[in-house]
């Protein structure tokens, strides 16, 4: 992220926050921040630094569940797209069988999780994928037949990898975590998930 774009986002975030204000909006926001800081304690792998927001989190909190204005959204997407690191070997598809395991795994990064333990993507919490898994959520769109509908060209592969790596690069204030950017998943795990979505042998595409 360049310094100028950072400044621009910050300015926009101030505008967004200013949209729906009453006189003491700033005071309430300050008190909310103070309440937050005084209400948590570090536990396990989760330190208090997890309450420190980056610009994207700050802007997306300020819009309070609404879609941000177009230019702000574009800015968020642009800065997040710049964070995507594609694999150096150029290979975007891993092993869909591992991908399925990662999609099922809900653990990782919670204060109750052991730091060396498994870290999953928990895709099924929000998406339908393999038709044999009935326990799927609907916060995100169904990804059943994702690859069958889109094909398996290089562009689709790059988009899919990047979407998992940093969802905000394509949809500002998306509900989906930024798995690569925030260091939740490894590059290999993201490759495996890309394969789960695109491999013609994957149950997702049956």
């Amino acid at each position: 992220m360049t310094l100028s774009s950072r400044v621009a986002i910050f300015a926009l975030s101030a505008i967004v926050a200013g949209c729906a204000t009453s006189v003491d909006e700033g005071e309430i926001a300050a008190k909310a921040t103070a309440a937050l800081k005084g209400s948590f304690r570090p536990s396990g792998q989760a330190g208090l630094d997890r309450l420190d927001q980056d610009e994207t989190q700050r802007v997306c909190s300020a819009v309070a569940g609404k879609v941000p204005p177009k230019e702000i959204a574009a800015k968020i997407e642009q800065t997040n797209l710049a964070t995507v690191r594609y694999p150096a070997d150029g290979k975007l598809l891993g092993d869909w069988k591992n991908g399925e395991k990662i999609a099922q795994e809900g653990r990782g990064m919670q204060f109750s999780d052991s730091p060396g333990g498994p870290v999953g993507a928990n895709c099924y919490a929000c998406h339908q994928l393999s038709p044999t898994e009935l326990s799927f959520g609907t916060i995100g769109p169904s990804l059943y037949r994702y690859g069958k509908q889109r094909g398996n060209g290089v562009d689709v592969q790059r988009y899919t990898f990047a979407k998992i790596y940093n969802s905000e690069a394509f949809t500002a204030c998306s509900n989906m975590p930024r798995f690569g950017h925030k260091g939740i998943l490894s590059e290999q795990q993201i490759k495996d998930l890309t394969a789960l979505l695109l491999d013609s042998a994957s149950p997702v595409n049956q």
Binding site: G106, R107, Q110, N122, Y124, A125, L134, S135
Partner: protein, 157 residues
């Protein structure tokens, strides 16, 4: 108070013979003294082995044994409601067997005359499995089977 005293006495004594004495003294009901626990059946693993331990051999499938309040899908395997009714005359007992549990037999209910042939309880299921309702009626064994699927929980665990 009574409970505490009774428990102390039972802890120090504990043998079946002693229970008999208490029963005679009217401290415990007659059935308490008689009640036994079929260790062989509860420790059994395979379905045929468990049926054998219960003395059921090869029970006859029956439409007169009916599940009620038993969902096809359980949100959580820790608590799966099971209701069983037998419409067979002279029903003496109802047992619940969960085929894919480490130990198949979950419970046996003995029903004296005057007690209706219907019980409802909740069981744990290790995974999706067939559940067998085994009924002893007029000295013979009957069975009904229902599949119950167990789903995963929510996020994170």
């Amino acid at each position: 108070m009574i409970n505490r005293r009774r428990r102390k006495v039972l802890k120090s004594g504990g043998s079946a013979a002693l229970l008999g004495v208490f029963a005679a003294a009217g401290w415990v009901g007659p059935a308490e003294a008689q009640s036994q626990w079929n260790k062989t059946a509860f420790d059994s693993h395979g379905l045929p082995e468990t049926m054998k331990a219960l003395g059921a051999g090869d029970p006859t499938p029956s439409k007169d044994v009916v599940f009620f309040q038993t969902p096809e899908i359980a949100e959580n395997g820790a608590v799966v409601p099971i209701g069983i009714t037998s419409n067979l005359p002279k029903t003496e007992s109802i047992a619940i067997l969960i085929e894919k549990n480490p130990n198949i037999l979950a419970a046996v209910f003995d029903l004296p005359a005057g007690t209706e042939a219907t019980v409802s309880t909740r069981v744990k299921m290790a995974q999706s499995s067939n559940i067998h309702a085994l009924v002893k009626a007029d000295g013979r064994y009957y069975v009904a089977t229902k599949e119950v699927k167990v789903t995963l929980g929510g996020c994170g665990g």
